[in-house]
């Protein structure tokens, strides 16, 4: 198991390096730069600004300096757009916001999704199955950019009018993470993940329930409860677990749509805006953050997998 983990970490470092260099080059290949403005800046002013941000060095030197500053000082540089903030400032403000939404969404998606999926499989072809499948399919066909406006129409405007302005959920913002600011983004962010988990759990549970060892367990006369919790659940969770890694990263780094729609101040907004603004350093910082998270969680999933299924460890 230990050598397995070491091997996985060993793969992660070159992957990350390739990610950094490739994004750096792609970014510089895009036309325009952070200081391309409507009214062309006088060359003297532009020269001063570029010198300040080290943009006048040759590209390999810039990449080297960038990586060196991260490794030695954990410094991701200053933002080019937000002149009084560094990338570290921006991430340390935006990431906790997004992470809060992400963790709540993850819990919601896993708990509701698994329950729906497993119940549907156990009560296969009954009204309960159809209801659970119905819920998960409608959750999946309603993408978050449709879900979010519907939620706002109901819980912000609808409630406001119904209660004469007494009670309603604010239609966006973060405001220090008060509960009423979290509910709608969490629902919008988690429903499609929840639906995927339900679908995966249902189909794999069905498969497991039809397999020989379950028939054996039932034939032994074990109670249904015991058959499911002790024998069926663990193998049925395997496909779900492989999905949870990327799903968590997706939720934790923020759905761009949800962050934009609810203007949460979270990472999703910066991810898109930094590309439009050519805010190179912020774009790189977020790319690396998402890269590290993706690699880490895929690694955790692999490790959990190996722990659950000895066949993987051995190969």
């Amino acid at each position: 198991m230990f050598s397995f983990i070491v091997r996985r970490v060993g793969y992660a470092i070159p992957t990350l390096l390739i990610l950094i260099i490739a994004s750096f080059l792609l970014m510089y290949a895009a036309p325009g730069g952070p200081f391309t403005t409507e009214r062309a800046l006088p060359p003297e002013v532009l020269k001063n600004i570029e010198a300040r941000y080290g943009l006048n060095d040759p590209l390999p030197v810039q990449i080297w300096n960038y990586i060196w500053n991260i490794v030695t000082n954990f410094d991701f540089g200053p933002s080019f757009k937000y002149r009084d903030r560094s990338v570290n400032d921006i991430i340390s403000q935006g990431f906790p916001v997004t992470l809060t939404y992400g963790i709540w969404s993850f819990i919601f998606a896993v708990v509701v999704g698994l329950t729906l999926g497993i119940v549907a499989a156990i009560r296969h072809n009954t009204a309960m199955d159809y209801t659970a499948v119905g819920i998960s399919i409608s959750a999946q066909v309603l993408p978050n950019f449709v879900m979010a406006p519907i939620l706002v129409l109901i819980f912000t405007l609808g409630l406001f009018r119904l209660t004469d302005g007494q009670y309603y959920l604010p239609g966006g913002g973060w405001n220090g993470g008060q509960i009423e600011y979290v509910i709608m983004p969490v629902i919008a962010l988690s429903t499609s993940y929840m639906a995927n988990i339900a679908r995966l759990a249902r189909s794999s549970m069905l498969e497991v329930l039809n397999s020989n060892f379950i028939r054996t367990a039932k034939a032994k006369g074990l109670s249904e409860r015991k058959v499911i919790l002790k024998h069926a659940l663990k193998p049925a969770l395997m496909p779900v677990i492989s999905y949870l890694g990327p799903a968590f990263v997706g939720m934790a780094t923020g759905s761009v749509v949800v962050d934009m729609y609810f203007s949460t101040g979270g990472m999703g907004q910066y991810f898109v805006n930094s590309a439009f603004n050519r805010d190179y350093s912020v774009m790189m910082g977020i790319t690396i953050l998402i890269g590290v998270l993706t690699i880490t969680f895929n690694m955790i999933v692999d490790i959990v997998y190996a722990w659950l299924d000895p066949r993987i460890r051995l190969s």
Partner: protein, 544 residues
């Protein structure tokens, strides 16, 4: 503690509270109009995007300027009509043929930490704006103001200390100009010229603009700033005219989508938001007291590429005129935009202060006459059904720009048989492409930096950094240089506009209107101020 002592202390606290909170919010009546004031004097409005900076010398953003005008106060302010009124300067005079301006600062102006605001603070700020080390994207404004040695300091040829601004004493600021710029005084209402607190900037560096560090001299001080989410500013007790301020608190919420913002406005979360494109007629009918449209100091046009890289066809003035004539501007303002925008036949908006719209020939014609003339001109230039004019029309990606481009290209196709191919690009790519003259016909727009025609007409001069079409006319350049020192520059502007109508380097399409939703209990909004330089301390909320 004895009961009586407690009582004394409590009443003392109450007195202090009454003294520090606004005098009028307590009396509940507006001092001039006598309207009953609302108990909660909080104004919340929507921002499209996060504020990039709140540093007056680095700011280049309109919504950033709105906040900076509340946090900092410059030499002069504007009233509800946009006229100049005293700010930190109580009075000012021009001497030596209008090349020397002397501002007398008020004695009671203070920073939020209690320090007096001095002439030295302005000297520091102006040098800082021009200093290459600051790397301000608005450094050119110091040059535009014609301050002595301004362009040399910006170019790094002279030390910032040689900039033509000096503190004669703590309360007297003297500015030397290279030419007698007639509208110089109106330029000091711009955020770039606002004073900044040297000790604070030196202590905190780039992070001096955070709420916990910022020292400012305006009617409000910054109390919260969550990037891309919200800002909060609250009344500054140290402000010299704090007594007359009524609004206690101003909140901005970032809401990227204009339709979401409208929903939240309807739910009472916002007091002000922008009207989404095309929805003004419906909203005006639904909420006539809340939907407002008023002229703005901005233009919208298409520029021909007249550089060597541009197409041969556009070098022919007849082609340029034919295209400009065939655009039915009434259709664009009344049916596409529908927000009270104005048809444009001149580059400078009619709303510009002191600007009389000159007679240009095509403005006086009916659209039928313009269309007939357009056909005639294009045929003369040798284009017709057998040899149709073809070109690319470039704009930055946006639903609104697309609608206008589609309308214009259809007009040209139907009336003239011209085949314009639409192309759109993401903003920075668009700017780069237009700036490198890699286009044929491209969209342009400009909002005035100050309320005078030269803020627009400078853009069509040869050296302008915004002249991406590379139009160059020696007479226009001379007229604009002369206008800077003329007592009556209107004649020059009239002539420049006439030359533009004759040579048609750009197609003026429309002049902007501000289209906003504003709760009807919020009073004092300066609709008449075309620059929309509004100050929260002039606003107030009346009781429902």
């Amino acid at each position: 503690m004895k009961f009586t002592t407690m009582l004394k202390m409590a009443s003392a606290t109450a007195v202090v509270a009454a003294m520090t909170s606004g005098a009028y919010a307590d009396s509940h009546v507006h001092p001039e109009t006598g309207e009953k004031l609302a108990a909660d004097q909080t104004f919340t409005y929507r921002l499209l995007d996060g504020i990039p900076t709140l540093d007056p010398q680095l700011n280049e953003d309109v919504s950033g300027s709105d906040i900076i005008r509340d946090l900092f106060e410059g030499l002069l302010n504007q009233d509800a009509e946009g006229n100049l009124i005293p700010g930190v300067a109580e009075s000012w005079e021009a001497s030596e043929g209008n090349t020397v301006y002397t501002f007398n600062l008020r004695d009671d102006a203070k920073w939020s930490n209690g320090d007096p605001v001095t002439a030295g603070d302005f000297v520091y700020a102006w040098r800082r704006a021009a200093d290459p080390a600051t790397a301000s994207p608005y450094a050119w404004y110091m040059d535009l103001m014609s301050i002595e040695n301004g362009s040399e300091v910006v170019a790094g040829e002279k030390d910032p200390s040689e900039l033509g601004v000096e503190a004669v004493d703590d309360k007297t600021l003297r500015v030397k100009l290279t030419s007698a710029l007639p509208y110089f005084a109106s330029m000091v209402t711009h955020a770039t010229t606002f004073p900044t607190h040297q000790a604070t900037i030196e202590e905190h560096g780039d992070s001096w603009t955070r709420p916990e560090n910022m020292v400012s001299n305006g009617a409000y001080k910054l109390t919260e700033w969550v990037l891309n989410e919200r800002t909060v500013r609250e009344r500054n007790e140290m402000y010299w005219n704090n007594e007359d301020t009524i609004l206690d608190k101003v909140v901005t919420l970032v809401i990227n989508d204009e339709n979401v913002a409208l929903t939240r406005y309807r739910a009472g979360e916002l007091d002000k938001t922008e009207v989404p494109a095309g929805q003004y007629p419906a909203l005006e009918e639904e909420m006539p007291d809340e939907a407002h449209s008023f002229p703005r100091l901005c233009n919208y046009y298409y520029t021909f590429n007249l550089s060597d890289k541009g197409p041969e066809a556009f070098k022919d003035v007849r082609v340029r005129k034919a295209l400009a004539y065939a655009v039915d501007r009434k259709v664009i303002t009344d049916q596409v935009l529908q927000g009270g925008q104005f048809e444009a036949y001149t580059f400078t908006p009619a709303a510009t202060a002191g600007f009389e719209v000159p007679d240009v020939d095509f403005a006086g014609m009916t659209q039928a006459e313009r269309d007939a003339k357009a056909k005639e001109l294009l045929a003369e230039a040798g284009y017709g059904s057998d040899n149709p004019l073809q070109f690319d029309m470039l704009y930055n990606t946006s639903e609104g720009h697309k609608k206008i481009a589609v309308a214009m290209s259809q007009m040209w196709k139907q009336k003239l048989g011209v085949e314009a191919t639409l192309a759109n690009m993401e903003w920075k790519t668009f700017l780069e492409t237009r700036g490198n003259q890699d286009f044929e016909l491209a969209r342009g727009a400009w909002c005035g930096d100050y309320n005078e025609a030269s803020t627009f007409l400078d853009l069509v001069t040869t050296p302008s950094g915004y002249n991406d079409g590379k139009y160059s006319n020696a007479e226009v350049d001379e007229l604009m240089v002369a206008a800077k020192t003329s007592d009556n520059p209107q004649d020059n502007y009239t002539r420049v506009e006439q030359i533009l109508a004759e040579e048609m380097p750009v197609i003026p399409v429309y002049h902007y209107a501000g289209v906003i939703m504003l709760k009807d209990n919020l009073k004092g909004w300066p609709f008449e101020n075309v620059e929309q330089n509004w100050y929260s301390r002039d606003l107030y909320k009346v009781a429902e």
